[in-house]
């Protein structure tokens, strides 16, 4: 998906550049026929709109997934507090339940 999105973005950029080039050419032509510039021609406007859509598409897909900002979504909903490890104490029932005696650190 990332590759496709990137390619679409490049295409959009090229279209934008082409639209700019076409406008410059159009103004040059207007100078020759001695008319006033009132607005870009139709094909440039269409090109700009297509380029806009393509650039938005790639801008939304390339950087990655959207993250939820709702406080009650599964990503953000807080279900438990972390164990307060800085204040942990050791006189609890762990003493009574001996762990597996085979465990040993080999040095």
């Amino acid at each position: 998906m990332g590759g496709v999105g990137f390619a679409v973005g490049v295409l959009g950029g090229l279209l934008l550049a082409h639209a700019a080039y076409a406008t410059i050419q159009y103004r040059g032509m207007l100078k020759i026929v001695e008319e006033e510039f009132s607005g870009p021609p139709m094909n440039v406007v269409v090109e700009l709109l297509v380029a806009l859509v393509l650039c938005i598409f790639s801008g939304l897909t390339v950087p990655g997934k959207f993250l939820s900002i709702l406080p009650d979504s599964d990503d953000n909903r807080v279900v438990s507090l972390p164990a307060n490890l800085d204040f942990m104490i050791f006189n609890h029932r762990g003493r009574v339940f001996p762990s597996n005696a085979d465990l040993k650190l080999k040095i």
């Binding site: 438990s80 307060n84 762990s99």
Partner: protein, 302 residues
């Protein structure tokens, strides 16, 4: 704070590792990140990595973090021999380190040599008097010795200096609740809500303290905080739903026979009761009659 998705991932990793599916290091990282307390699993899987020279060297510098994690887990399981081995490896690598010194102090604590632990911490505090972790260990030690009054005193002194330490506020609040000093506990939870305004569990705990204190004004405030806890969890916290039910019925009893202004509007109560019934219908249909009977006796549903 532990999110729902993170907790689910931790549990998934735990079953995967327990069934021999690999991913032990990822699991241990997750335990560390979420600050979960699962000493037996950490000990087992941590040792399996540490005893495998190749897996251990793959970790690079993280190896020493793992030694520390396993040492603390071993103390938690009362496997002092393993803890001692881990700490000796660490002190060989980092001689004179405060962090290793703290581990040694904790080892004294775990073996019940309180005087030695006290001495070790005092020595470390002389070198760095503002080390938060060591001061917290001293507070925990007072608690472990059953000297709750001293623990409260130390904590208050500590919080005068380090006011932004949420863990300490939480610890103080829990100690106050265990001593039934609800007014003080409520103050601590207010601090916590100020620090973390979007954490529903602090809202919930604050509401519970207020509900326990009782009185119309406290009950009404408690109800608001239960409501905000429900808001932040999207109604998925059953405890908050029950709390709101209890608050409403208590308020109804107090305001019985009073004029209309003090009375609660019935909309919220019936809404919460409905949400509870719906939840039970979906997740535990066997318990549904019990819940409906209770809610009926509280006059929240008809």
């Amino acid at each position: 704070m532990v999110g729902a998705a993170e907790e689910a991932q931790l549990n998934r990793l735990e079953t995967q590792v327990d069934n021999g599916g690999g991913g032990a290091w990822e699991y241990l990282c997750h335990v560390r990140k979420l600050k979960a307390r699962r000493p037996d699993k950490v000990l087992k899987h941590g040792l399996s990595i540490l005893n495998n020279a190749k897996a251990r060297s793959n970790l690079g510098a993280e190896e020493w973090t793992l030694y520390e994690q396993v040492a603390i887990a071993a103390m938690d399981c009362q496997r002092l021999d393993i803890a001692k081995d881990c700490i000796s490896v660490l002190s060989k690598k980092f001689p004179g380190s405060t962090r290793v010194g703290r581990l040694e102090g904790m080892l004294f604590e775990a073996s019940g040599a309180w005087a030695d632990a006290e001495r070790a911490y005092e020595r470390l505090l002389q070198d760095s008097p503002h080390d938060q972790v060591i001061q917290k260990r001293k507070i925990a030690m007072a608690k472990a010795l059953g000297n709750i009054a001293a623990a409260v005193e130390y904590l208050n002194k500590y919080l005068e200096i380090f006011m932004a330490d949420q863990d300490a506020w939480r610890e103080l609040a829990e100690i106050y609740v265990s001593l039934q000093m609800y007014k003080q506990a409520a103050f601590c939870y207010e601090e916590l809500i100020l620090c973390q305004p979007t954490d529903p569990l602090y809202h919930l705990a604050y509401a519970e303290v207020l509900y326990t204190m009782g009185g119309l004004e406290n009950l009404q405030t408690a109800k608001k905080y239960y409501a905000s806890a429900i808001n932040f969890t999207g109604g998925k916290n059953t405890r908050a739903l029950y709390g709101l039910c209890l608050c409403s019925s208590a308020i109804n009893q107090i305001t019985k026979g009073r004029n209309k202004e003090d009375k609660e509007s019935p909309d919220l109560q019936s809404l919460v009761a409905e949400a509870l019934v719906k939840d039970y219908k979906k997740k535990a249909p066997a318990k549904l009659p019990l819940v409906t009977n209770t809610l009926k006796s509280m006059k929240l549903i008809s």
